[in-house]
């Protein structure tokens, strides 16, 4: 069985970037300066992923103050609500308050926005390993306070995501659903528009078949369930909730080798839950034991 490594989500910031953000928040450096710093730090991260031989990685999202904020702040009609706990963690995000949504603002060039470092939303690496990242539409809605019809909103968000894919010419996109979700038909058009990777949480059942195209991968805790809906099954296995470095990933996935020719091994959550020094070490553990 061939293992394919994939890292997704927000990557922890370096001390240097944290300090720079501190200065930027106090007005001691400009938005242009912090933007340059974000680009620099992203380049350092991409060098690291290459050194670790990662097959796929998403943008490190160094200028995302939480998993959904830059997306929320790029859509007219969405404002930020109170600080809200993210799942069962000690991490918080600002809850989007969604009214009637309007157009998608500029996301691909320098732009100052409230309550978040400046855009662009992504600082792309030009290798084929690079994946754009977006939060799952179902989770985005679950994490928000709605002042509008949810069904209608889901369709609108799908259209906005399609517009993002088009504007940025996304060749590969990873969508992360951090909350248990049911409605995956919402991604049918996106599968046609780009090579789509999906990370799901929990049972996330109720998949239906019959699509012409499949997800490139569905990364879950149970690759058997989702195998028929994707080209390569994926497993969330590199633990983002412990500082222990896993040296035996290969041993842990050995049982799956009878059933799959290829398997994507990915992290369980954003590495942002780890200290940077540990995250940097874990990058080298995705195929531990190989």
């Amino acid at each position: 069985m061939k293992l394919i490594s994939l890292l997704y989500g927000i990557y922890p910031r370096s001390e240097s970037l944290r300090k720079a953000y501190g200065k930027w928040e106090k007005g001691k450096i400009s938005s242009i300066e912090i933007s340059d710093k974000i680009r620099e730090e992203s380049a350092i991260f991409y060098d690291l992923t290459k050194e670790a031989n990662l097959d796929y990685f998403t943008d490190p999202l160094f200028n995302w103050y939480d998993l959904i904020r830059p997306v929320a702040l790029s859509i007219e009609g969405i404002t930020l609500g109170p600080l809200t706990r993210y799942k069962e963690t000690n991490t918080f995000y600002r809850e989007p308050i969604i009214g009637e949504t309007g157009k998608l603002n500029k996301i691909d060039e320098f732009r100052e926005i409230d309550a978040n470092p400046p855009l662009p939303m992504f600082h792309k690496d030009h290798s084929k390993s690079y994946l754009y990242f977006l939060p799952g539409i179902n989770s985005f809605i679950k994490m928000s306070s709605l002042r509008t019809d949810a069904l209608n909103l889901r369709q609108k968000l799908k259209d906005i995501y399609l517009e993002m894919v088009g504007r940025l010419k996304m060749e590969r996109l990873l969508i992360y659903e951090p909350f248990e979700s049911e409605n995956f038909e919402i991604y049918d058009d996106l599968i046609d528009a780009t090579s789509l990777f999906l990370v799901v949480t929990g049972k996330s059942g109720k998949f239906t078949s019959g699509r012409k195209k499949k997800f490139v991968s569905i990364i879950s805790d149970d690759p058997y369930t989702f195998n028929e809906f994707c080209e390569i099954p994926g497993l969330r296995i590199v633990d983002a909730q412990t500082t222990r470095i896993d040296g035996d990933i290969l041993l842990k996935v050995k049982d799956l080798s009878d059933n799959f020719d290829r398997l994507i091994v990915a992290n369980t959550e954003s590495f942002d839950f780890l200290p940077r020094s540990i995250a940097d070490k874990k990058l080298f553990s995705f195929k531990g034991g190989e």
Binding site: P12, R13, R18, Y21, G22, E25, Y65, D66, P82, L83, T84, R85, E88, T89, N90, T91, F92, Y93, Q241, T242, T243, R244, D272, F273, L274, P275, R276, S277, I278
Partner: protein, 335 residues
């Protein structure tokens, strides 16, 4: 008994002479500056009219998790992890059996004793939160680690009480993580109770904030050895003066739960949001207090900010406290 006691929750923004050098100061210099900052903060509280001064804004502590953890054997810190935006804390990894290396808060208590103030309340980070916010790379089960933290906190409170003397000492167990894992409320109950087990002469408080479901906490109230619940409400309430106080819907549920306990239980009502610079006008705070008083006796209601005010400037923090006191006085007058 005094009605509508005003109190703070714990932290307050440090003066820059302390904050900018907090980690680099030598111990004797640190002690002097932390003492100075504590007294200045108490004076600021007193100027605002605050009745209970806590520990003077936690000037000895950089952060509620890191402070105790750095005084515990068996925990390694590999670096900071994010809490929100660009705010970080040093998350420890439990790599061995834990034990107290030194007292967490004795130095702070000594300063308060020296100052002659009696109206204090000591916040202590709770066992469940310490467990939940640590990487557990050693204990087999989460409950084992939480109970181990509970035992350490019990030792700490005993030491503080012995130093304080015969008068009642108010102790606030800070458990912001208490309701984050709905199926672990039994661990919360056991570990918090372990923290105060067998200690006489203390008034036990608990502080919980930003819960997605306070109902989980309310369910265990009858079996928790806690007398005062200092909770956050303002963050979820509109800032308009008019209208229903929708952020305070949990007050009624709290009272229903408290009444099922044999213990006499009080509520500390969060009336100012610590995450915004907006200074709540006295009328807004008054409306919030009066809403709560529809359900609770004034003798069992205390008034406080949602959480520690460290996220705001000292000026904003002071204005928020001042308006809180004004509102409290107006409510009391009208009662």
């Amino acid at each position: 008994m005094a009605e509508l006691i005003t109190q703070e929750i714990g932290s307050f923004r440090k003066p820059s002479y302390l904050a900018s050098r907090f980690r680099s100061l030598k111990s004797s210099e640190f002690l002097n500056l932390a003492k100075r900052a504590t007294i200045e903060t108490i004076e600021l509280y007193e100027k605002s009219g605050l009745m209970n001064i806590g520990v003077g804004g936690e000037m000895f502590r950089w952060e509620m998790y890191e402070h105790p953890v750095s005084r515990i054997n068996g925990i390694k810190v590999f670096g900071p992890v994010r809490s929100f935006d660009n705010r970080y804390y040093n998350k420890g990894s439990v790599v061995d059996d834990i034990s107290r290396a030194s007292s967490f808060h004795l130095d702070e208590l000594e300063v308060l004793k020296e100052s002659g103030r009696k109206n204090i309340k000591i916040p202590i980070t709770g066992p469940y939160t310490l467990m939940d916010w640590s990487f557990n790379d050693h204990y087999n089960k989460r409950e084992e680690l939480a109970l181990a933290f509970g035992k350490l906190i019990n030792e700490e409170i005993r030491e503080l009480k012995a130093a304080w003397g015969n008068e009642t000492l108010q102790v606030q167990i800070d458990e912001p993580a208490a309701t984050t894992h709905p199926d672990e409320m039994e661990i919360v109950r056991e570990s918090v109770n372990e923290s105060v087990k067998g200690i006489d002469g203390i008034e036990t408080h608990i502080h919980v904030c930003y819960s997605r479901d306070y109902g989980l906490l309310f369910k265990i109230i009858p079996s928790l050895e806690i007398s005062v619940y200092n909770l956050e409400f303002a963050n979820r309430d509109p800032t308009s003066i008019e209208g229903e106080r929708e952020g305070y819907a949990n007050v009624q549920r709290f009272i229903e739960a408290a009444e099922s306990s044999t213990r006499k239980i009080s509520l500390g009502l969060g009336v100012t949001d610590v995450h915004i610079d907006f200074i709540e006008p006295p009328q807004l705070i008054r409306n919030r207090i009066e809403y709560a008083l529809k359900f609770i006796d004034p003798a069992r209601l205390r008034i406080n900010p949602d959480c520690g005010l460290r996220t705001r400037s000292r000026e904003v923090g002071f204005e928020k406290l001042k308006n809180m006191v004004i509102a409290r006085n107006e409510v009391l007058k009208a009662l």
